[in-house]
Amino acid sequence: MAVRLVLLGPLRDLAGMAESEVPAPLHWEGLLAAVSPELAMQLNSNRVHIACGGVVLADKTALDARDGEEVALLPPVSGG
């Protein structure tokens, strides 16, 4: 049973992959442990947001992803 982890923008290069699967349920501590120390440091920065099931979390430390859900790691945008 798994959660799909999707990395966007520069976080993709930092992790060396666009997505991966991690065991469900996935909480904030589990997420930090599942990624590299460099990526964990980025996730701890308030510039990086996390979306779960298509909704951006107001408090990313409250992450509670269930089996089949998608968690996206969102660095600052530079669009338009």
Binding site: G9, P10, A51, E70, P76, V77, G79, G80
Partner: protein, 137 residues
């Protein structure tokens, strides 16, 4: 679809409009930049664009609003983004197009990187984009 075709279709769909203002954002020609790549995150990007459009519609007296954004690899001179606002009067059309662009730049879920001679480089957000947004508070 080309920008001119999209604008022609938008114009035809709003024959009651007295004003249509449009903005096209392009890949800025720069000798050191070979290409620009824009990526997005499907579950958030389109709903985010719709939210920007809904806010513009609630704020200005509009007859219609077009918000169009490309993703993928583009070369200098190519269009990236198109915003068009149709209104009875010009002030609403101008303001809505600018409002939509300012919000897209700072709040829509897109990431850009440039290809230069030595490879790809991610583009950092500009502080100016957030200052532009503050004008509308």
């Amino acid at each position: 679809m080309a920008v001119s075709e999209a604008l022609a279709a938008f114009d035809a769909a709003h024959c009651e409009a007295g004003a249509i203002a449009s903005f096209v954002g392009k890949v800025r020609p720069d000798e050191t930049v070979r290409a620009l790549e824009i990526t997005h995150y499907e579950p958030l990007t389109l709903p985010g664009m719709q939210q920007v459009a809904d806010r513009a519609i609630a704020r200005f007296a509009l007859l219609g609003l077009l918000v169009w954004h490309r993703t993928g690899v583009m070369t200098p001179g190519e269009p990236i983004v198109l915003v068009a606002a149709a209104a009875r009067h010009r002030r609403d059309a101008f303001a809505a197009a600018e409002y939509a662009m300012d919000h897209l730049k700072s709040a829509a879920w897109f990431w850009k990187r440039e290809q230069r001679a030595d490879g790809w480089h991610w583009i950092e957000p500009r502080g100016q984009d957030h200052e532009d947004l503050a004008r509308w508070v």
